[in-house]
């Protein structure tokens, strides 16, 4: 139903897609929303396609986002962001990591990796903001911060303030010490800034 917010998070098994969606769900719940989160993961741990659905609002019934109704698509990998474009509603937005993870079937020469996923997405008329979350994370000192960079990227596209999501992210690291909390705060802000900069560049 239209009064719900539908967020689709996509990527590959092992990238942390499901955890990111769970943190988004926690933020929605913290604000008193009803929420449902579901995956089409298959044997996701084995490098397969993962698409994680989050729906929140006053009352959520069906957990699945139907094609053409996602408000935001958060893509952890370029070709995956492209794969799920049909899920977006008209006017929906894609936030995508420009990283490319090439699967063995492509390495074997059985299939081609799309030349320019970003251009393909633009071609179909959907709004898209692209940034290199992997490099941002590496520059902050740890590739594992990529997850938090991605959450920072979506933070200003939600029907609630970014600080709610940031709180939920940092809560996860509280027990692991102040240093990690600070790193994640920086990663989150870097993700926000990356989207802001990319949007400004387009405008």
């Amino acid at each position: 139903m239209s009064e719900n917010t539908n967020i689709l998070v996509v990527g590959i098994g092992g990238q942390g897609v499901m955890t990111a969606t769970e943190i988004l769900a926690e933020a929605a719940i913290a604000l008193g929303h009803d929420a449902k989160k579901t995956e089409v993961a298959g044997m996701a741990q084995r490098g397969g396609v993962v698409s994680s659905h989050l729906r929140f609002g006053k009352k959520v019934l069906s957990p699945q986002i139907t094609p053409g109704t996602a408000d935001v698509l958060l893509g952890f990998e370029s070709a995956e962001a492209m794969r799920w474009q049909h899920m977006l509603k008209p006017g929906g937005i894609t936030l995508m990591n420009t990283a490319k993870l090439v699967p063995p079937v492509v390495e074997l020469g059985l299939f081609d990796y799309p030349e320019d996923p970003l251009a393909e997405i633009r071609k179909c008329g959907n709004k898209v903001v692209a940034f290199d979350a992997t490099t941002i994370a590496q520059n902050l000192g740890d590739i594992r911060l990529g997850n938090t960079v991605m959450l920072g990227a979506i933070a200003d596209q939600l029907p609630f303030g970014a600080e709610v999501l940031l709180d939920c992210v940092l809560k996860r690291f509280q027990r692991k010490g102040e240093k990690l909390v600070e790193l994640n705060r920086r990663a989150f802000e870097a993700g926000r800034a990356a989207v802001g900069a990319a949007e400004a560049a387009v405008a």
Binding site: M1, I12, E22, A25, E26, I29, D34, A35, K36, K37, T38, E39, V40, A41, G42, M43, A44, Q45, R46, G47, G48, V49, L61, S62, P63, Q64, T66, P67, G68, A79, E80, M82, R83, Q85, H86, L88, K89, P90, A99, K100, V102, P103, P104, V105, V106, E107, L108, G109, L110, F111, Y113, P114, E120, C124, G125, N126, D132, T135, Q138, I143
Partner: protein, 624 residues
């Protein structure tokens, strides 16, 4: 998972259906819980094992897990057992007699149907067991219902002394939604009371229990008629009324908010009167159920005019975008069209083996040996059927690699007379249901080479412990199976048993090539742990010296996902034959130094990784 338990009563927690059932099991005072891992059911028992004051175990297979639960229920305690849909096929022998004895303490069996086959060899509707075994079936529609129904199932189980099936689907097991949790209530078991006429199911006793089972059916149907789990929501749009169960109910409510709906939570035996009540309110009745037309067929046999699988699919998940067009057509309305982009064509991304997986060496080797027919089994190694190995020819059911291999041997046609038969099975699958097949193979003098891939874990479901790794569900030490001794005890000759390190390709190749030539049962045991469990130790990563790589592609054939092609070229050999070259790099950040790609690299282009500076690392990691 660990965060679930401490939640105090009345708090609202985001829980998967599996976590919700686990919480309810604990709150219900269950004393014994047993299962064999299987997607999408696995997390139920994993989470149960984090709760105090109960006993949980990974059983060797689903039949044993149900028998353990039966014993506890006979002893008067509450017990729990869960499995994926195909697990009940294995456990059903026990179920079909359990229904005659009934239970003393409550027994709930949660069965997780993989509707849509996200990780299974078939798609089954476990609600059939309710009909076949004459036991009640509950069907939750979300986590809150999974939690509540589990608790109610214990009450029903004890009231009618019958095991209750909680039928879940992937869309219940793995969906997270809010659950209001409660407190644990101790359940004090009555103790085992000897009652041979009830618990010793010999013909004379069992025959007397059958009429009681049929009487119970009548009483259960009456209970379903008045159960609060079955309710009608009157709607304003009377053109179509729906009868829905499980997750399908949510899709109906989402799609047709104004339609009258009969929600069946206690769906077997079907409450016929409730269904008639709904039918009287509306112009047409549509049954929405996943996946087989069970309720539909029974209602049609009752003479009710209902519509079901005539307009809805017989396979896979239902969802609003399946239901809406089907109902629009039924009503003669225009089918709603989605104003979204057409799905774009992107390469498939099938699941693959992990970086440095010990199975990589096995499948690489099998792909290099000619004239093999390879019967496979259920686990990560089923992925060997895919690229680049294409080295697995059958996959049927848990343990089937053994019997299928023997049958391929005994039933070989003229065309296969020179073929060698190989069976591939993992440690946990072997202990689950493969041992008997191997015994059969030895006993009947088969000619099969068995590859027993011992990676010390139930890999595909997330690396659970099993008798093969010497740890129980709590991670505590327990007796560890010695596979060499075990297969020896089953009758495999000592000289035909080999333990091989799967990372030593020359040894593996020679052992396989030699053993397939011997007309006897051989067992080759590989002994390196799954890379996802704590027993695995990473080694120094590798990288490719660009100038030395000749583009031969041997390393790509190993199938490790850390190897990436940097450029392709064509070369014409002196013979005039044109060959494709693929030059590679190794993603050193994920490489764990297993050496599988180093061994087939003729020019010695793969060396230990020597990082230069973080900046260079970044550029390396980002090329396509």
């Amino acid at each position: 998972m660990a965060a679930v338990m401490p939640a105090p009563a009345a708090s609202r927690v985001l829980m998967s259906g599996n976590e919700a059932v686990a919480r309810a099991v604990w709150e219900s005072g269950v004393k014994v819980a047993a299962a064999y891992p299987g997607t999408p059911s696995t997390e139920m028992l994993e989470v149960i094992s984090t709760y105090p004051d109960l006993y949980a175990e990974w059983s060797v297979n689903e039949k044993v897990s149900l028998e353990v639960a039966i014993g506890a229920a006979y002893a008067g305690s509450r017990s729990f057992c869960c499995m994926k849909h195909v697990g009940m096929n294995v456990a059903s022998d026990a179920l079909m007699t359990l229904t005659l004895t009934g239970v003393v303490g409550g027994l709930v069996i949660a069965i997780a149907d993989d509707v849509g086959l996200s990780s299974s060899q078939n798609e089954q509707d476990s609600r059939y067991w309710g009909r076949f075994a004459h036991v009640p079936v509950f069907e939750p529609a979300d986590s809150q219902e999974a939690y509540e129904m589990t608790k109610l199932a214990y009450e029903l189980s004890e009231k009618f002394q019958v095991p209750v099936i909680l039928r879940m689907t992937t869309r219940i097991n793995h969906v997270k939604s809010l659950v209001t949790v409660g407190e644990r209530n101790e359940y004090v078991g009555a103790g085992f009371k000897k009652e041979p006429a009830r618990f010793v199911m010999v013909p004379g006793n069992a025959g007397k229990r059958i009429p009681l089972m049929f009487q119970r059916d009548i009483a259960l149907r009456a209970e379903a008629e008045k159960s609060a789990l079955n309710f009608i929501e009157p709607g304003s749009d009377k053109r179509v009324g729906f009868i829905a169960s499980g997750p399908a109910y949510m899709h109906v409510k989402e799609s047709f908010p104004n339609a009258p709906v009969l929600k069946l939570g206690f769906s077997c035996p079907v409450p016929f009167e409730k269904c008639r009540e709904l039918a009287a309110m509306v112009e047409q009745v549509v049954i929405v159920e996943e996946v087989e037309p069970l309720i539909e067929t029974e209602l049609k046999a009752q003479g009710l005019k209902v519509i079901g699988k005539e307009i809805l699919p017989l396979q896979g998940e239902l969802s609003p975008n399946v239901l809406k067009p089907a109902i629009a057509k039924l009503l003669g309305e225009p089918v709603p069209v989605m104003d979204s982009v057409v799905p774009m064509k992107v390469f498939p991304r099938p699941p693959t083996m992990c970086v440095a997986c010990p199975h990589l060496g096995v499948y690489y080797t099998l792909s290099q040996v000619r004239n093999l027919n390879i019967s496979g089994d259920i686990g990560c190694y089923t992925l060997g059927a895919g690229h680049p190995w294409n080295a697995l020819d059958t996959c049927v059911s848990m343990g089937a690699s053994m019997g299928v291999a023997l049958g391929m041997d005994k039933g070989r046609g003229e065309a296969d007379k020179d073929k060698r038969i190989v069976a591939v099975i993992g440690d946990s699958t072997f202990l689950h249901m493969g041992m008997q097949g191997l015994l059969d193979m030895v006993y009947n003098k088969g000619n099969v080479t068995v590859l027993l891939l011992d990676n010390r874990a139930v890999g595909m479901t997330g690396g659970q412990d099993n008798p093969g790794n010497g740890r129980d569900i709590y991670g505590d030490d327990s007796p560890r199976v010695d596979f060499a001794k075990l297969v020896s005890a089953l009758g495999v000759k000592e000289e035909r048993i080999h333990k091989v390190n799967p990372y030593e390709l020359p040894v593996l190749f020679k052992t396989i090539r030699d053993e397939v030539k011997v007309p006897d049962v051989s067992v080759i045991i590989t002994d390196q742990p799954c890379v996802l469990i704590k027993d695995y130790h990473k080694l120094k990563p590798f990288e490719v010296i660009e100038d030395k790589c000749t583009g031969c592609g041997n390393c790509i054939d190993v199938g490790c996902p850390a190897i990436h092609v940097t450029r392709r070229a064509k070369e014409v050999k002196p013979s005039g034959r044109e060959v494709d070259l693929a030059f590679v790099r190794i993603e050193s950040s994920v490489c764990t130094g297993c050496t599988l790609c180093v061994q087939p690299c003729a020019p010695g282009a793969i060396v230990h990784y020597a990082p230069v500076s973080p900046i260079q690392l970044v550029t390396k990691g980002c090329s396509a």
